[in-house]
Structure formats: structure tokens, C-alpha cells
Amino acid sequence: MSIQEQYRKKAAELLSSGEVKLVIGYGSGSTPDRRRALFARTADDAALFHVDAACDANLSGYLVNEGLLSDKKKIGIFLKPEGIRSVNILAAESQLDPDQIVILGFTEENGTVSGLQGTQASDFTSLMTALKENRTTSEKEQALVDKIEAMTPQERFAFWQAEFEKCIKCYACRQVCPMCYCKRCIVDNNQPQWVHTSSHTLGNFEWNLVRAFHLSGRCVECGGCDRACPVNIPLRLINRRMANEVLDAFDHFSGMNQNQEPVLASFKKDDPETFIL
């Protein structure tokens, strides 16, 4: 039985047994190569789920939709390792109770998907450790990061200026991100207005810096923002660079487990401080 069929069956069982009230997974999209979120409430709906290489979205963001988990009932959700990391972070930041989440985990490599053992976020600890040890999400991506780092500051500034100039402040990057759950984003606060809401280059620059900063040590590199961006800003490169930073400086790999302390809300007395005069 293919992974897809196994998981359809599993989802159907979860729903028909009443263990979960809802399963969030992937259904077919508007074109053959697109998958879109599918919310299954009955065992019949579960037959529409897809599990394949085209399932790229990190669906965990839907878990924090207002009121979805407030009835204490369980929800099943299809997640890739990044998604499981997001759930861990959301749990660590008290946004959800991980016991309410039944995970249908899968992973994709070179176009083939395979299932992951476990149903609770805590079942994947060894997977997380392995991910941290072999942090090789994409060498192509790291190469691009390295290329930018090799530039002079002026060149880097010009590079990002050209990218951010395209931004239209649609906030798709924020809205699609499971970590951006704030009811009112800093950019929407107007007393005081810290950063410009206008989408001129300066405002875009500020917005993207603030976004990247707020995701530092929290981003799980699912790539959702990058795929969502309608003007193709390579947001994953910034997120990648920041993930490298927290790993190198504080040995922090986001979303390891549900008790992990947020990197910017904790400290060690011997944290590096070579740059401080």
C-alpha cells in the first residue's frame, strides 16, 4: 500500500473513531501540480487526501486559527519535519496544547515521500536530533547565502535593496508563516509607528528586517514565506542566515521539542560577546 493510501486510511480511522474532529491535509489543487489545504471532517473526505512530493505547504499555521483548538478536541494534521518543528515551537510558546495534535508525519526526498513513525510531537525527538546534526536542507541555498556573505556591505545592501524594492507589503510572508500568530503585528501598531507601513523601499526594508528578526531562532525553514511571496523575494536566504546564526552562536536549533526555551527569551552567562566593546 502506498504512503498515500496508508495515510488516507489512517485519517479515515481517526475521523470515524471520533478521536479527532478534523484532519488538515492536502487535497488536489487548481492545477495537477498544485496541492492545497484540505479540511476533512468525515472519513469520506479523507479519501481526497494526497501525500506526494507536491505537498509543500507547512499546514501547522492553521492550528492557531482563532477558536480551532479551544474546544479541547483533537485535530489530525499532515506534517513534514519542518511542520513538526513548528508545532513544537507553538507548544513551547504556549500557543497550543501539543496533546491536541495528532501528527500524520511524512518526509520527502528527491521526489519520493515516506512516512514517519509517531503521532505526537514528542515522538519525533530523535528525528529532530538527527535534523540538527545533519543540517543540510539545501546546499544550493547555502551557496547563495555564502555568495551574499562574500559581498561587500555596499553590494549586500544594493542586493537587498533591489529585492525589497519589489515588495508590495501584501504580508503574504507573514500570513502564511505559522510563527507569525500575533493578533496585531508590530507593523500594524501605530502608537508608536515603529516602521513605515508604506511600501516604498525604505518601508519594505524595515518591514523585512523586522520580520526576519522576529523569526530569528523561531523559523523552521519550511520555505512558506518564500513560496508565498508574489514578487519572488528570496526570503529563505535571510531566514537561513539567521538560523545559521542562532545555531553557531547559541547552539539553538528551533523546534527541537515542546520544552525548548525560545532563544531570545533565554540566555547563558557565557554567551559569546566578542563584538561588544
Binding site: 492545497r36 505547504a57 519589489k166 508590495i168 513605515h196 511600501s199 508574489p230
Partner: protein, 337 residues
Amino acid sequence: MTKILLRDKLDDCLTRWHAAGFDVVGPVRKNNISQYATVKKAGELDLGIILPDRTLKDLFFPQTEPMFSYRISKQKIDTEEYLPPGRQRIIFGARACDASAMAIDDPLFGWDYQDTYWFKRRNETVIVTIACTAADEFCMCTSLKLAPDSTQGSDILLRPLGDNRGWQVEELTDRGREAFSRIEALLEESPAQTAALADVPIKFDLDLCREWLQNPENFESHFWKEISMRCIGCGTCTFLCPTCHCFDFQDEGDTYTGIRRKNWDSCSFALFTMHTSGRNPRSTQSARWRQRIMHKFNYFPGKFNLNSCSGCGRCTRECPVDMGIIETLQEITKLSQ
């Protein structure tokens, strides 16, 4: 016998238009995105793009624009208006859906009160549309009762020739005729075979949808919740929509000097309608999606007798969660059959 504009004469056309004081704008691919941008040479144009990522709206109603600056002193406030620069523009190679969209927004921006920023640019721009010979799976102009060669909003319509050597010229307005009189000498009179237009299948039944939307019973239908569950509330569909016209004012500066700007805003954002008191008339994403669909296909046509959609399909093409007008109207069509 019809007028023909040959592709290899395009550079000369641009030279003549530039000499006559026109800026020339057209589809350009740059920095991983395609959009309508000012060009100096015909070679910069990419006329093979089915539809630029960004819309024609950008040229009339930019994402952010300064309206005026202020300087406050004890006894007076000085302001300086920033009106669009008075430059004649020719948009060469617009798509019919984009051009139509401009005509759709005209009544809105001119409804009793004239939006200076919109109309100044509208009056200074000639839109030369090239009929589409190719479409992708998201194109839906025909579903909106428009077509790859719609003339709505265009000043000139160019029909690609079958042999790809150029275009057959259809002059639609005086403004278009005036602009093309500058290149009259470069046009040829010859019989021409135009290429077949793009085949854009009809995706939904607009009349049925309108009827369904007009029925007050359907306003509270569970359908809206189901269809918008995936919606993440970003502004992609509205900002990449050529007809979406909602905006915001923002003051930037300090207590004494600064600038008031007009920025795009989106009905998808929760804050769009939020009162200062915290009350929000459209407090859920489903209410906001319903508003978007209702506004485009019920309220707007009720007021201005035009659908606030020209069928470009960008909302669906670019949606991060694969939603969009096509799916919603297809579902409504199914519901009303």
C-alpha cells in the same frame, strides 16, 4: 487593406514617440519578476509574456504615492501638493484584461468626486493593447464576458499577425489615433492574416453567480466559511488585482514636517475595517472573502454596471494557498445549477 505595424519597426516607433515627448512603457522581465515598466529601446520589451506578474494598475494607482507634504509652524500649515508629473505615456503591449480593468475603475474614481491622481494619469496615457494568442490555465476573461481581444479601456488594439511579423492596427480612440499619427509613416497598408486568438475556456457562469450572490439568503450561507477556510488573510489577491482599488492614507514624518501618502490597502486584512474601539464589522476571514466576492460581482455591478473583475486570473495564479475567484465562482455556479 489594413494598417500593419511590423515588429522590426518597433525601435523606430519608440524613437518617434520619444521625440514626440511620450514615455514608452511595456512588459519587462527584470529581477525575477515581470511588470509594465518604462523602456528606452524596443529590445527591452518582452512581448512574449502571457501576462505580467504585476498589473497595469501600478501605473495609475501606485502601491504608495506621496499626496502632499506639510510643514507646521505656530501660525500656519504650509502644504505642497505632489501631483503626478505631466508626462504623456504610451503603454505598449498591455493585455486586454489589464486595459479593461482601468476602464472598470474609472467610474469608481470619478463617482461624484474625481480622484486627481488617477485621472491625471489616465488622461496622459495611451494604452496600446496586444490581443492574446496564448493563455494559461488561470486566464478567465471569457468567463467575465470579455475576450483576449476586448477593446474596453484600450486606445489601440493590435492583433498579432499569423506570421508573427507584426500586428494589425485597430485605432479605437482619438487619443490612440493621435499617438499613432506620430508613427503613421512606419505603418504599412497591406492585407493581413491575423493569428488565432488564445483559446480561453469559460470557467463559470457569471449570470448564475450574480443571481446567487444577489439572493440575501445566501449571504449567511455556510458556503462562505467552507470556501475560505484556507484563506490566510494576506493581500496578494487584492494587490495583484488590476481592479482592486482600496487604499489607505498614512502620514509619515514628525510633528512639524512630513508627507501624507496614499497606499494600497486590502479588504483581506483584518485591520481594514477595524474600528478604534476594537469592533470589527468584518471580523472573520470568511466575512472578508465574502465581501471581496460580493463587492466584485454584486455591489460594484449594481452601482456601475460593470463587474469589478477583468478575468486576468492573477488572484488564483499567485495565491499562496491556491484559492481565488475561479474556484469560488465555480463552486457558486455548481450551487446554483
